[in-house]
Structure formats: C-alpha cells, structure tokens
C-alpha cells in the first residue's frame, strides 16, 4: 500500500517544490505556453472572482484511504484536522453567506471528531445544497460510522462520492485493495434508504477521476456506462456522474513524474485547452477554506499553499464584499480545469 508523500518525506510533500516543477521545465523553455500566456490570448487574464456561490470547507487531511491520485495527499497519518474553534468561525460565515452550496470535504470529512456537531449546526443555516464528499468506504470501515447514511438523510445531505470505475480491478488499483467491494456495499445501503433512487430528492452523485495519465472522456457517456454497469451488476442507482480531470499536483504529480508521463500529460492538458471553459472555472464562484481556516481560491490552490489575493486571508476576517472581484492566483496546474469540457468539483464546465 502506498503512503502519503508526507509520510514518505518526499520532496513533493513541499508545495513550493511542486510549484517549481510546474513553472520550470517545458514551461520555462517555452515549449508550452504558461497558463497566464494562454488565457491572455483570449483576453481572460487575470481571472476574477464573481459572486460567491459555493463555500467549500476542508475538515482535515486525515483519511482512511491513501489513493494513488489524491491531490490532498490525504491518509491515516495526516493530523491536520479542523478544530471546534475554527468550525465556529466557519459557522458564522455559513449563517450569513449568500452562497447556495456548502461543500464539506477532506480527507474523509467524517473523520473529524466534531463532524456530526458541525453538520447539525450548519444544517440550521438552511443552505440550499449541502454536500458532503464521502469516500464511501468510511461508511463501512468502523462501527462508529455505520449510522452515517441515516444521519445524512436526516440532514438532507447531498452525498458526492468517488468511484473511478465500475470494475473492481480499476477501482482497487487507484484507491486500494477492497475499496470496490466496500464502496458497492455503501452504495447499496445509501440506495436502501432512498439515496440516488430515480426521482428521490436524496441526492447521490458519483465522481469519476481517470485512473492514470489520461483525461476523462465525455461526462454524459461515462455516466451512461456507469449507470448501466452498476445497475446490471449490482442493482445500484445514482443520480449524476461528475467527470473530473486529475490536476498535476501532489500525489498525482508524483505519479506522473515517477511513471515518466509528466511532460506528455501537460502537453495533453495544454492541447485540450478550451477557452470557453475558462470563464466558468470553479474559483470564479467558489471559496475554499482549509482545516486551519485560511482562504483559497480552490481546493487545489489550498494544497499548493497559494492563498487568496485579498486583504482577507482567514475565515475569522471573512468579508464577502472584499473577497468579490479579487484576482485569482493561477499556475500551470490550472490547465487541468480548462482541458476539454473543463473540470470542477461539480464535473464538466463547458
């Protein structure tokens, strides 16, 4: 089983090193245009934040899994966990924000010891779409999580879960041995209480990341194939599939370099650059809050330690007005959001 880059003490555990790699090599030698140059071609530089629609909060980097492609470098060894104090600061913002979506992520957000309390409180704010990104296996891993499907239902949580493939082989290769069977079991349990069933208001969506150095194909056709296979083989239902491109950071960057795919992958991203995806990249309507309360344009920038370009840096100083219109901090990893049909935490963009 692989371990986190942090545990391995890999040089890529350092976000500065990742940014160096992304700024040098083929981009420095001019073989490929930088992201800034590319979006300037169509007059889209700099990207600017519009009105906030999605507040994404990372409850900690601890996870029961150690997926090969993880951009968070999450794992059981990660100790970064949001404290109740920071949660209270987040709750203040959740109560006052005009955002229509609250998106809890991690690691495995359920592993935060105050997860249930936080969801209870956040739920009271009545945000329209309340997402929890659950990796599914956590619901099966330990008895203390077994009640979570019911807990999600009680709070009308929109469950979004990763599933790289409808076959055991491909899923376990990316996410670890036994992950497929546990995920199937969790999906069945969610279906049994109404999640993901046709016409059910209890939303269950799946996230697909390619399990290798290639881009996802058309989201709609992948969704069709996933639906057919999961229904035919396991009688499982879900609502939508979000096809997400792997961004070249953290463990996926490590994989790209180790497998000698880095340059080809960057070329593929640049070649698939789609200017019409640029105007909808998620940083333009999202704010990402890290486990320690700092603010980032997106989850990827959080992992690269690229804070928001604003006077307001921390959730305790939150001011929606000051944050709106800020320029987005970009680097070459952003090509992952603009390739093909575009990519975001809610799937394709264009």
């Amino acid at each position: 089983m692989i371990t986190s880059l942090h545990k391995r003490e890999s040089e890529l555990a350092n976000s500065k090193r990742q940014l160096e790699i992304l700024s040098n090599g083929i981009f420095k030698q001019g073989e490929l245009p930088t992201f800034k140059q590319k979006i300037s071609e169509t007059g889209q530089f700099p990207l600017r934040a519009k009105k906030l629609e999605i507040l994404q909060i990372n409850l900690g980097y601890m996870c029961n899994q150690v997926c090969e492609h993880c951009h968070v470098d999450a794992g059981p060894d990660r100790k970064e966990i949001m404290t109740p104090e920071t949660m209270l600061q987040c709750l203040e913002v959740i109560k006052s924000t005009g955002a229509h979506t609250l998106d809890l992520t991690g690691g495995a957000p359920e592993m935060n010891p105050n997860f249930r309390w936080f969801v209870d409180e956040a739920y009271k704010a009545g945000i329209k779409d309340f997402i929890v990104r659950s990796n599914l296996t956590i619901l099966q891993t330990n008895k203390k999580y077994h009640d979570l499907p019911g807990f999600f239902k009680k709070h009308n949580i929109h469950v979004v879960s990763s599933m790289p493939h409808w076959t055991r082989g491909k899923t376990d290769k990316q996410r670890g041995d036994g992950v497929f069977d546990k995920s199937i079991k969790a999906l069945k349990e969610l279906n049994a209480i109404g999640y993901g069933m046709p016409d059910s208001p209890l939303r269950l969506d799946l996230v697909y990341n390619p399990s290798g150095a290639f881009l996802p194909s058309n989201q709609k056709s992948l969704e069709k194939d996933f639906k057919k296979a999961l229904f035919d083989d396991f009688n499982i239902h879900f609502h939508h599939l979000f096809a997400i491109t792997n961004l070249p950071i953290s463990r996926f960057l490590d994989y790209l370099i180790a497998s000698e795919n880095y340059e080809d992958y960057m070329c593929a991203l640049v070649e698939a650059y789609n200017p019409s995806a640029v105007k909808n990249v998620m940083c333009t309507n999202t704010l990402s809050v890290s486990w320690d309360g700092f603010l980032y344009d997106c989850d990827f920038n959080q992992m690269l330690q690229l804070p928001v370009n604003s006077k307001v840096k921390h959730i305790s100083e939150y001011n929606e007005h000051l944050l709106e219109g800020r320029t987005i901090v970009t680097s070459q990893h952003c090509y992952g959001c603009t390739a093909g049909a575009g990519s975001s935490c809610q799937g394709t963009l264009a």
């Binding site: 076959t167 290639f214 070649e271």
Partner: protein, 111 residues
Amino acid sequence: MQKTYYDPADLKKFGKISDWNEALGAKFFDYYGKVFEAGALTEREKSLIALAVAHTIQCPYCIDAYTGDGLQRGITKEEMMEALHVAAAIRGGASLVHGVQMMNKVNKLDM
C-alpha cells in the same frame, strides 16, 4: 535521412494533410468525425472496433490513439485484449481459410 519511419509527434499533425488538399481533407475529417458519433453502435463499441482494426493494419498512430481513447472511455484492458484477439482470429483465420484453396489445388494436381 530521417532515422525512423514513425514519429509519435506526427500523429498530432494529422490535420495537416488538409494543407495540400483542403477540399478532400475537409471531407475526410468530416466523414471521420461522423463515423465515430454514436449511432446504431455506441461510441464505446466504435472505439473498440477502431482499436482492433488498428492492430490489424498495424498502424502505430492508430494504436496509440485508440488505446488512449479507450482508457478515456473507461474501456478496460481485458476488453481491449479481447478485441485484439477478435482481430487476430480473423487475421489468422483469413490465412488459414485460404488453406482450402491450397488443398483444392493439391488435390487436383497431386496423384
């Protein structure tokens, strides 16, 4: 002289064939695009057929392209290999079925 007959980078230049005959190039790419759209067969099925044919005609560009395309579509390596065996079986079978011609000839000429 060029050292190798195939350069992977040339695949990306495929579109350039239109430079020397725009009208026919455009017709070809238009046709190509339409062929791979979902119809009575799904795009996935067409991708697997393309992969099998690519191996039959032994085109390295097409093998590269349709292996990548298959991965993007979630086609598994088991499915890819089965498709190749279909191609190989037809290819092998095509040689062997001519054995009937050989046998006919031998039977006619041999005492």
